[in-house]
Amino acid sequence: MGRSRHVWAAPGQAFRRLSVLLAAAALSGCGGGGTSVGDSGTAGDGGVVVPRFFPAPRLPEGESLAAERIELGRHLFYDKRLSGNGTQACGSCHHQDKAFTDGLPVAVGATGERHPRNAQALGNVVYNATLTWANPSLVTLEKQMETPLFGENPVEMGVNDRNRDEVLARIRGDARYPAMFAQVFPGGAEAIDWRNVIAAIASFQRSLIAGNSRYDRFLRGEAVLAPNEERGRLLFFGERAECFHCHGSFNFNDQVVHAASRVVETPFHNTGLYNIDGAGGFPEPNRGVFELTALPQDMGAFRAPSLRNVEVTGPYMHDGTIATLEDVLSFYAAGGRLITVGPHAGDGRTNPFKSDLIALIDLSPEEQADIVAFLKTLTDHEFLENPKHADPFLPWP
């Protein structure tokens, strides 16, 4: 199991329970019905609709998920003027067609600095208990966003004390933003401040629900899986491949928070990618939760990402060092990674901090291919093409 684990009890007070319109309306609805959340109420007229078998998301105080707020957030998410030098938006490293990853091994910031980590997918991020690859302290999208916006090490969007007023002035001086902010936040022109910029982008991120893949339609009895996909499904959820231990939730990960959460577990896992010193070491500055806690058992411990849309989120792992899904499967089948040359040489298979769920698995190449075929059924093509999530600054048909 995860070496680094915290268990939280929900306080019940800090977040309001959503008024959820449970879809007994399933019959009337398109796509098999769903749960609609947000003040705008129903499917189709704004708000956010989540599939029937997803829990209602947990929303912070003041989050309405109103359509206008999400729309404002979408514009800001894709607006390059929001970076210090005006060259990069959130969307520069989070491309919709790649489930909001960027296709690179590691992300590159507005000033050209390479991030040590791989840009993460944003589908269903509203359900994440912690954010980023390995940080138990980041539990809200609003707080997390300060790192890409303002972080210095590495510089991502490069907003700092010198330019942050100028960056806001770009937004204030735009033809459309003042009216868009006024629709969502009280306070007129004064409403264009960093708190509200961040709040609106977080709302857009919360609207990114991916739950209509072929696998989801299979669950609803609307699609069938091909024989190889079905074999892969059984392997995925079986005790031999054990994939489901870390990727078994409705969101195919193991850190989930939602409106009715009573207890939230936040495990992090060492999967045996490295062992540079024979004592379990991962290379700096990618030592996982250890970077924050300095606890030996946190060495190399990272959050298991959701596998929804994993077909389009490569390269894989926190540092993008595994290029293809096929390679990911052979890595897990081998119970870790042996690196024979280079500065990171070492046998990750014998990493002493490796999760005990990662062991040599007798999986034939055909079985590995079956699991890959199953994973590809998790791609929600509608999500990847939904104009509601798209860059508004590009011409859209």
Binding site: P11, K143, N160, I198, A294
Partner: protein, 317 residues
């Protein structure tokens, strides 16, 4: 845990403030012959950066610093101070009611800023400086001072971009630790900071270099509560609690001495982790820096009530 520490130390000013209000409210009643409570007294606790006996500024080179006695330049010199009390002759600590302005937050947190973005610091900081904490205490004589270098937990994890000054300073934010840098002291030693090549690695790693030796102090090992969306605890507080038994607020000031801070640190070399010390428990350079500050690197607690360090000391104005 950090949690307990705030209940004890942070509750004190609040409690005393309401006790003061009660006192003055009841002051006129009854037939007692007690004297009227003294008028509040305005005080200013001053700070100055020094290196030994020499003043420190962005305008001139620093004295030789570190175990290698390297000629150095100042790059940044800012820190937060909170939980400020003055000590009466009878030994009672009376909280300072901090005024609120762009340097002082309503929750009793001040930013001391000893750089002016000129000279060697150009391009890193802000032109404005602040070398004092201003507020009021009940009238009377005071003989000592207590203060904490750090931001109390209750406001440490607030959103920087949405906070009132001086908790809105982005350079003092520590977003990946979800809090603030309590202190940001940076120097550039002559010749830079070298991370040696590792010929033992396959292939050998080359030598790397940074211009700056950083000292970033802040809480580490913080964990949020996903169920409530709140930060609840940090494994290492790393707040420096200082107490000086003899301090004349009118004639003396708090000196922050870079010479003892870097005394045993080899500032020209970095053996791992961040360049310099960013409060990492396994960062080799943090051993010397934390020892100098009188902070226990493992627990994040102040050693011996702040008497185990001489980076912060009292001197004449």
């Amino acid at each position: 845990m950090d949690h307990h520490e705030i209940t004890n130390r942070f509750a004190l000013p609040l409690l005393s403030a309401s006790a003061m209000a009660l006192l003055s409210a009841c002051g006129g009643g009854g037939g007692s012959a007690e004297p009227a409570p003294p008028e509040p007294r305005t005080v200013s606790i001053r700070f100055a950066g020094v290196a030994g006996t020499a003043p420190v500024s962005c305008a001139q080179p620093l004295a030789a610093l570190g175990s290698g006695a390297l000629q150095s330049e100042l790059k940044d010199f800012r820190f937060y101070v909170s939980e400020v009390s003055l000590k009466r002759a009878d030994g009672i600590f009376v909280p300072l009611a901090m005024s609120v302005d762009e340097w002082q937050h309503e929750r009793g947190v001040a930013l001391i800023d000893l750089e002016d973005d000129s000279g060697s610091c150009a391009g890193r900081g802000t032109a404005a400086m602040n070398a004092s904490i201003r507020g009021t205490v009940p009238g009377g004589e005071y003989v000592g001072v207590r203060l904490t270098v750090g931001v109390p937990s209750a406001v440490n994890h607030s959103d920087t971009a949405a906070s009132a000054a001086p908790l809105d300073v982005q350079a003092m934010a520590w977003s990946w630790q979800a809090g603030r840098k309590f202190a940001k002291i940076e120097i550039a030693p002559a010749g830079g900071v070298t991370r040696p090549a590792n010929p033992g690695a396959t292939p050998p790693t080359p030598e790397t270099r940074s211009a700056i030796f950083n000292v970033h102090l802040g809480s580490t090992g913080c964990t949020g509560n996903p169920a409530s969306g709140e930060i609840v605890s940090c494994a290492a507080s790393n707040r420096l609690e200082l107490e000086f038994d003899a301090f004349n607020v009118d004639t003396q000031q708090v000196l922050v001495d870079l010479q003892p801070l870097f005394l045993t640190a080899n500032t020209g070399v970095d053996l791992g982790g961040a360049f310099g010390c960013m409060s990492g428990k396994t960062d080799p350079e943090c051993a010397a820096i934390f020892a100098a500050l009188g902070l226990d690197l493992a627990s994040g607690q102040t050693v011996n009530g702040g008497r185990h360090q001489n980076v912060f000391r009292i001197g004449a104005r």
